[in-house]
Symmetry: C2
Subunit: 302 residues, 2 copies
């Protein structure tokens, strides 16, 4: 096992433990709702967003205990977005991460409400008393603002609206970049930034990490498009080729597979370049960027 994989495995175990704790502490909640929330939270996500927040915290020398709850709130939001994206009225997906989607297991009403609950719980976690006591409250409010903005109407939700609207239509590369920036890159950028915001990093470091997050976010989404074409179904845990079947606008469809691969690698290189002024504490962020590139070359098999 290469050192990064060991690191990722340890971080995932830590994140999974915190997420399970969130669910356990939700007392007095209808059990079917908790079950639906827990079902989608478990089950093999990459945990990229919390891992990025923690790595950005490392890079800016934060106490990981302070970053961890906010990092895991990002995963609550990511999970809610997947549940709602999969609904029959949206992408109508039956499988996600190798398991039947939430609405297939719990029905549409509970799936919608489980998504709503995970989104709301993210803000419960971010404003929790324990966190508010240990962090500068102004920094915590900025974190809440950044996350709400990244996943709000001009961010992730706006991107999903544009994505649904563009199905079966021909769009320009500029529009596609705008969809991807909103739908995926905005929350990835925020993930990196909140690590730095919570550790009250100096402005120059915050700027460098912001640029890193923007390029990584876009590179990651292009890589995801590419993997939907070339990835092995077993490695990805879902049926691939779904984008093409749904006539979704993707980078491979718009530019061709090889050009899309190059563009993803280019974004990832720019992400790494953004860290040139950061010291050795940013090593895990650098390795995470390389890892996204490696996944493309290996067809999702890492």
């Amino acid at each position: 096992m290469i050192p990064l994989e060991l690191y990722l495995e340890n971080q995932r175990a830590l994140i999974d433990q915190v997420l399970a704790g969130f669910i356990e502490r939700q007392s007095d909640t209808p059990s079917i709702l908790l079950e639906a929330m827990s079902y989608s939270l478990q089950g093999g996500g990459k945990r990229l967003r919390p891992i990025l927040a923690l790595a950005a915290g490392e890079a800016t020398r934060a106490d990981p205990e302070i970053i961890l709850p906010a990092a895991c709130a990002l995963e609550l939001i990511h999970t809610y977005s997947l549940i709602h994206d999969d609904l029959p009225a949206m992408d109508n997906d039956d499988f996600r991460r190798g398991k039947p989607t939430s609405h297939k297991v719990f029905g549409e009403a509970t799936a919608i409400l489980a998504g709503d609950a995970l989104l709301t719980m993210a803000f419960q976690v971010l404003s929790s008393e324990g966190l508010a006591e240990r962090v500068n409250p102004k920094a915590l409010l900025q974190v809440i603002r950044e996350i709400a903005s990244a996943c709000g109407p001009a961010g992730m939700i706006g991107g999903q609206v544009m994505d649904v609207m563009s199905e079966g239509k021909s769009i320009t590369p500029a529009t596609l970049e705008s969809i991807h920036t909103r739908k995926t890159a905005a929350l990835i950028r925020a993930s990196v930034r909140i690590g730095a915001l919570l550790s009250e990093a100096p402005p120059a470091e915050l700027r460098a990490l912001t640029r890193f997050g923007e390029h990584l976010g876009l590179g990651f989404q292009i890589a995801d498009d590419v993997l939907d074409v070339i990835g092995e179904e077993k490695a990805l845990g879902k049926r691939t080729g779904g984008d093409a079947r749904q006539k979704k606008a993707t980078y491979p469809a718009l530019l061709g597979l090889e050009a899309a691969k190059s563009l993803a690698h280019e974004q990832i290189e720019q992400a790494s370049a953004a860290l040139s002024t950061m010291g050795p504490s940013a090593q895990h962020l650098r390795e995470l960027a390389s890892y996204v590139g490696l996944r493309i070359d290996l067809g999702g098999r890492t």
Copy 2:
């Protein structure tokens, strides 16, 4: 026009202006999404939750400018909950406040996303820079925590899950009270509390207002059940009798109409009693409680 009605009209105009401003300031958002958000935000809601927050601010001598954004965030959350409740997978309602529901006008995908966007925007508003500069940041974090908790899995969303699950089943009065407490009363209680929290009111006042909010919230929901049976369709702007058609558990169905009316009035009296230690600044809160009682007697015609 009686003085309370003039007061309500003025408060509604103020709230509508702030809500319109929220939408206008959402630059760089897909226009169809903004249109759907705006469609449901406009159109004749009672604005009970923001009015209660503002009146609780009055009662605790707060600057109304500080309460107003948070008060309107409550209406964003209430509106999102109505859009999602009306969806085909939930109550499957075609009309709301006399207009076709969001999914009838914009389609299911956009309706789900408009709900998600309004919920997320509430937290953007609550954590906005302008507010964070004028309010004690710790009080603001507590407000965010209270609202997220009231509309979270143990609150409003949990109540909706229980409501959907109980359709066509016979349930106990205790279960019905638990549904109503979560689904409606929790956010009404929070509405009253945030006025007091933002003005950093003394603990005794906060306790009195909390009891007021709890009783008013439950009284209001029982009144709503009663009005669904006896209310005039035109006055309420929606088809009445919907609860009975959907075999929903309600107080009139469980206890009979007259007993349900008495229970609503009883809760409203207890709400007023909770304010006995408060001075004349709580006058609007007292009148709001009487107003909820009056609506029952007049069949929704106020």
